[in-house]
C-alpha cells in the first residue's frame, strides 16, 4: 500500500501545474500513506522506515522552496520570476522553478503532518 500511495502522491504533485493536484494535496496524500503504515506496523516501524525524523523534512522543504524563490535572482531577474527549461520532459511536461517550489511545499507538508501525528501518537502510548 505504502509504495503505491507514495507514487500516487508524486504523480499528483508533478501534474499539479496542468491538472488538479499540487504540492499541498500531494504532500497530504504522502503523509496519509505513512500514517496508514504506522497504523498497521506501529509508529516505531514507520520512523525506522523513514530513517530520519519527519521534523527534518520541514527545513529541507522550506529550503527548497526558498531557493526556488530566490534562484531567479542568480540570473538577474526579480524574485519569484518563473524560470523554465525549454524542452518538455515526458509525463511531467515543462520543468520550471515553480515545480521546485511545489516540491518544497510537498516536503514541508509531509514533514509537518507526520511530525504532528507521530508526536501525538508517541505521547499517547
Amino acid at each position: 500500500m505504502l509504495p503505491i500511495l507514495l507514487l500516487f502522491s508524486l504523480f499528483i504533485l508533478l501534474r499539479g501545474h496542468y491538472y488538479p493536484g499540487g504540492g499541498f494535496v500531494g504532500g497530504l496524500i504522502a503523509a496519509i500513506a505513512f500514517v496508514l503504515h504506522s497504523f498497521t506496523n506501529g509508529t516505531d516501524d514507520t520512523l525506522k522506515l523513514l530513517r530520519v525524523h519527519p521534523s527534518a523534512f520541514i527545513p529541507v522543504g522550506l529550503g527548497i522552496a526558498a531557493l526556488s524563490m530566490f534562484a531567479p535572482m542568480l540570473v538577474g531577474q526579480p524574485v519569484m520570476t518563473g524560470l523554465w527549461f525549454n524542452e518538455p520532459f515526458p509525463v511531467i511536461g515543462l520543468i520550471g522553478s515553480a515545480l521546485f517550489f511545489d516540491i518544497g511545499v510537498y516536503i514541508v507538508v509531509v514533514g509537518v503532518v507526520l511530525t504532528i501525528l507521530f508526536t501525538i501518537s508517541q505521547y499517547s502510548e
Binding site: P20, G22, V112, L117
Partner: protein
Amino acid sequence: MLFAILAGFIVSLLYIPFGRFLKGRLAVLASLLPIGLFTYFAAFIPDIQDGASIAFHQPWVPSLGINFDFQLDGLSLLFSLLITGIGSLVFLYAAAYLKGHPYLDRFYAYLSLFMAAMLGVVLADNVLLLFIFWELTSISSFFLIGFNNDNADSRKSALVALGVTGGGGFLLMAGLILMGHLSGSYSIQEMIATNEYLKGHALYGLILLLVFVGAFTKSAQFPFHFWLPGAMKAPTPISAYLHSATMVKAGVYLLARLYPVLGGTDYWTYPLIIIGGITMLYGAFHSIFRTDLKGILAYSTISALGILVFLIGIGTPQSLLAAAVFILVHALYKAALFLTTGVIDHETGTRDVTQLSGLRKVLFPLAIAGLLAALSSAGLPFTFGFIGKDLVYEATLHTDGILPLVLTGLAVVTNIFLLYAGLLAGLKPFAGRLPERYSAIHLPHALMWAPPLLLAILGIAFGAFPALADASLLNPAATAMINEAIDSPLKIWHGFNTVLLLSGITLALGVALYLARKPSAHGLAWIERFNPLSPKHLIASLTRAVHRFAIRYTRTLHNGFLRVYLLRIIIFAVLLLAFRLFSGGAIRLIPDQLSPVGIYEIAVVGILVAAIYLAVTSTSRLTAVVATSVIGYGMCLLFVFYSAPDLAMTQFTIDTLTVVLFVLVLFRLPSFLNLANRGTRIRDWLVASAFGAVIALIGIQVLNQPIDDTISKFYGDNAYVLAKGKNVVNVILVDFRGFDTMFEIVVLSIAAIGVFSLLKLRLKASEKE
C-alpha cells in the same frame, strides 16, 4: 548659535563613555560648559543693547513648518544669561555638594541636557521647536527630581511633576499648533505680524486657554502649583537651578514671549491677573507656615511666579519692565537662598528652621550671603529687591480702570509674607545662639559658599548701581515684550511718594511679623488641616477614583471567562451588522440568477445539516468527532459538484488526517458533561442563531452584487502565457501568489514545532504534583 544650543546635548552624550573620569576631583571641569556658554551669550550684550536681534535659520522639516529658527533678543538674552550664569554656579556648587556621589556623571549629564533644552526654549523662534525643547526640560526635570531614585518619595514626586507639566505641555502643543495653523506660520516673529487676525479669530479664547494651562502647569500657578513643593525632593542645587531660577520661569517666559502675539486684550489680562494674584497670595500665605527651609522657599517661589504672571497680565510698559526686573531679582536672591540652604542641610543634616540658629559663628560667609539675599528679598533700600518691589507697586498703581487699590493691596500683603519668608530662610538659621550640637561644624569647601555669596552680592550691586543691568539687559528684555522702546531708567530713589510709603509699610509689617511670630510645628499642623481641600489632594483623590473605576470596569468586562467575552463580542457584532444590513434597504433574492437545484445537492445538504445537528447535540465525544468529519466530507462533495477538484482533494485528505488526530488524542477522554443549565443554552442558541442569520443575510446581499472578475480574468488569461501552467488554482498558489504560499508553509512549520515542543518537553517540577 545652533552649536551653542546643541552643545549641552552633545556633552550629555559624552558623559556616557567619559563620565566616570569626571567623578573625582575633575568634576569641576563639568562647569566649563555653562561658563563657556555664559561668555558666548555675554558677548551679545552690546549688540542687543543697540536694539539688534540675532536670527538663525536652518531648515529641518520645512514641509511641516518645523525649522531650527532661533532668535536672540533682549528677553532671550536675559534668560540665556540667567540659565548659563546660574548654571555655572550650580555646576561648580554641585561638584562640592555631591562630591563622591556614585552617580555624579549622571547628574551632570541630566543637568547639561536640561541646560541645553532650556536654552532651546528661550531661543527658539519656531513654536513647534519651542515645544520640543519645552518637553525636554520636563523630561530632564523628571530625571533630576527623581535623582535619588532609591527613595520612593522622590520617584513619586518626579512622576507627579512629569504628569502635571507633561499634561500641560500636551495642551500647550494643541494651542501652539492652533496658533500656527491659523496664522499660517509657526514662526513667532511672523505671528507677531499677523496678531490682529489671531486676536480677532473665533478660536482666540481656546488658544489662550490652551497656552495658559501649558504655562501655568510649568510655572506652578494655582491650582497646578502642587508639583513644585514635591520637586524639592531633588538635590538642593537642582531646586535652586530648575525649580526656582530657570525652568519654572519657562511658563513666565512663554507668556512674555507670546505677549506681542496674543496679549493686550481683556481675555489675556483678567485670567492672568486673577490666577497670578491667587497664586502669589496663596504661595506667600503658605510659605509662612512651613518649617522646612526648602518648603518655605518652594512656596515663596510659587508666590514669586504668581507675581510675574500677575505683572505680565497687567501688561502696561511699567509692569512688563517690572516683570523683567523681578525675574532677575528673584533668580538672584532665591538661588542664593537655596544654595545657602543646601549648605546648611549638608552640614547640619536638617532643614528644620525651628532647630537652626546661630550658624553665623561656624558658617560666616554663608551668613553674609543669606543676610544679603534676605535683604534683597525684603526689598530694603539699596538692594535690587527694592527696585523690583518698587516697580511692582508702581505697576499696580498705574493700572487704569482695573482697581489699582485692590491690586496694590494684594501686592503689599503678598510682599509682607514674602519678606517674612525671606527673613526666615536667610536670617533665622544664622541669628541667635549656636546650639551645642552644631559647634563642631566647619566651613565647607569654597565651591559651596562662594556661589551663593556671589549671587547675593550681585543682588546688592545691581541694587546700588542699577545702571549695571538696566540698559544692557532689562530694558531690552522689556522692549522685546512690547515691541517699543521704554524710556524709564531704573532708579534707586524716586523721592517721597506713594510707592515709597508702600515699601515702608511692607518693610515695617514684614519685620514686625518676623519678630512676633516664631515658626513652629504647631503652625505647620494648623495649615495641614486644610490639606484635604488643596488641589493636590483633590487631584490625587480624582486619580484614585479613576483607578478604582478602571479596576471595577476591568473586573466586569475582563472576568476571565472566555465564553463571556465571546458572547459580548458576538452580540455586538450581530447588532452592528444587522443595523448596517437593515438600514441599507430591502434584502431580496433574484430567483432567475440562481443555479438549479439537483437531487444530489439536496441530499448532500441534508446530510450536512444532519451531521451538524449530531455534532452539536451529541453527548459522546466520538459521535461528535465522527459527525464533524462527515461535515468535512460533505464539504468535499460540494466542492466536487462546483468545479473545485483541488479543493475537494485537499479537503478530503485533511479531513482524514483530522479524524486521525482527534481519535489519537481524544478517545481516552471522558464523555461530555452537560455543564450548562437550560437558560444558558437557550440564550446561547438565540445569540448563535442570530449570528448565523445575519451571516446568511449578508451572503444573500452579496449574491446580488455583480462579481468583479477582472482579477480572475487576469489569472485565467495569464496562467499559461506567463506561468506556463494550466491548473489556474495551482498556478496562483505557486507562482502568482508564491510569497503567500511560502509564508503559509512557514506557519505550518511553526505549528508543527509548537506541537512537537508542547508534547516533547518533559513536565516541569510544578506540573509533576
